[in-house]
Symmetry: C2
Amino acid sequence: MINETETEISTLGEFGLIEHITKGIELKNESSVKGIGDDCAVLDYKNKETLVTTDLLLEGIHFDLTYTPLKHLGYKAAVVNFSDVYAMNGTPKQLTVSIGVSKRFTVEHIEQLYAGIRLACENYGVDLVGGDTSASVTGLIISVTCIGEGDKDKIVYRNGAKDTDLICVSGDLGSAYMGLQLLERERSVSRDSSDDFHPAFEGREYILERQLKPEARQDIIEALAKAGVKPTAMMDVSDGLSSELMHICKQSNTGCRIYEERIPIDYQTAVMAEEFNMNLVTAALNGGEDYELVFTVPLTDHEKVAAMKDVKIIGRITKPELGYYMETRDGAEMELKAQGWQAQW
Amino acid sequence: MINETETEISTLGEFGLIEHITKGIELKNESSVKGIGDDCAVLDYKNKETLVTTDLLLEGIHFDLTYTPLKHLGYKAAVVNFSDVYAMNGTPKQLTVSIGVSKRFTVEHIEQLYAGIRLACENYGVDLVGGDTSASVTGLIISVTCIGEGDKDKIVYRNGAKDTDLICVSGDLGSAYMGLQLLERERSVSRDSSDDFHPAFEGREYILERQLKPEARQDIIEALAKAGVKPTAMMDVSDGLSSELMHICKQSNTGCRIYEERIPIDYQTAVMAEEFNMNLVTAALNGGEDYELVFTVPLTDHEKVAAMKDVKIIGRITKPELGYYMETRDGAEMELKAQGWQAQW
């Protein structure tokens, strides 16, 4: 599989590989005191609180390299962790990345992966400060930890939603999931096709990008701050809206009521759902990997959030005994279920 | 492989498994504001600096479950990260653990792994504050990140060693490596033996424990503080003394000279090396996984470190042009080489 223009990792060794992929990294944040090159990274958050989140991404479980470019994968692995820090109303500042790679990967592959990671860091103002590299028996393993900062009185947890609060969501939902369906279908088709197979991706760029290169909603966090709105509870949508909303309600001891007609869905998502003969609302509620923000605000902030670009009010928080419900377009009630993405054990 | 008394992970699912293994976890450190259960853990280090270190441990590369009990593995995975924080002259405070597990693992297996992790956290006063769980295609994957704190003026880097500084090392070296050799041999023997095979471990408990259940040298850090000694440079010995010492010298722009007769070696290590017909000093210099501390102190601290229990002065820092050398017992000079443990790519 390794051709002449590619370099086997064994030619560099572990220390050589680390040196190679971390070349030219500069620390830009004041809080990054010491990055790669010691037993620990050293950070100084002064009077801010420290936020820590971590994700493990495994080939064959979380990603499929037949249709995921390594640069996109690196970008996404970093961004989904930034998203968790924004979901606390914080700012991501540092990242550590550990990788395990099998013999089928070359130095050039790892370069592409890190090109994506470094681009994400650059775009979001985050410093790469550490990690670990290792051989793996099989496949690619990526473990990412993001550290960020937040003001003590501005950090938003999941447990602060109150009865009558408005439920808001950024962007649109279900598009990343429909992008995944499209990629999976084209992969199946390509297997049965001749060599000059061209996947049917035209006009579907948006949903593909949502799946392969998602962005974290730093802009929404900034807009909320600018508008003087502090959400009472917030999460990012990684497992699907239903699942996340139920986390907020359970931890806040509340119920919720959302309205189908208000759930933001992109045109391409709707077209794809029809093509696949899938229920569009199910995709939006349970699809996952949207990395949008779902948050609750007091009723008194109604005007402020209603005026915000790319934010939609989709319902309200209720008393706990009222349960978790969606009102459908035809006025029926549907109970929400946490059918979010779950790995197959 | 799963018998009647064991529970398949699929019966719990991802969220159920997380709930199960994190049951009863209490946060004990003042700096742990919020642990498991939100998008991020929240820490408050006030006027201290934050230390971050991370390790990726892969089955078949870093550990072999035919002779590694899961509880020991969990303990070791946590402790080796604490060791990195002590090596900065800091104190570990929080831990995140992500695991990927294949279908051959049961809930009971994961319980054992976490029993070890939680025991290590208890012994070292560290809070488990987050992580990620996932299915894996094959084998067990463990990713650990440790966060700790340090006083700005007390953190010790690798780059502060000065000409004439004394080189000190805690405990003894090479024992974990000889323990590994013994385990590997007995595994080979057991394969060719009948069912009632009993490995020849008697009288070798010390080197086995050094390999399977290492401890981090918190006691040495405390003793140094008590004695009023701040090392000029420090690392923990994970890749072998030679490799670590060369890291210190390169980053400090110095040379070094150590003395073979002063390198601390345990009796069991020496016996095993003879039995295996291996060079004892090579095992001590390059064996790795000792998790002892190697550090340098100014000459003026000579009396203080000489009086410290379980610390040995093994040489001194020299000018960079003098290179990295060991004086052997017979007075010859041997150049040090970084032959530390390297994964096979």
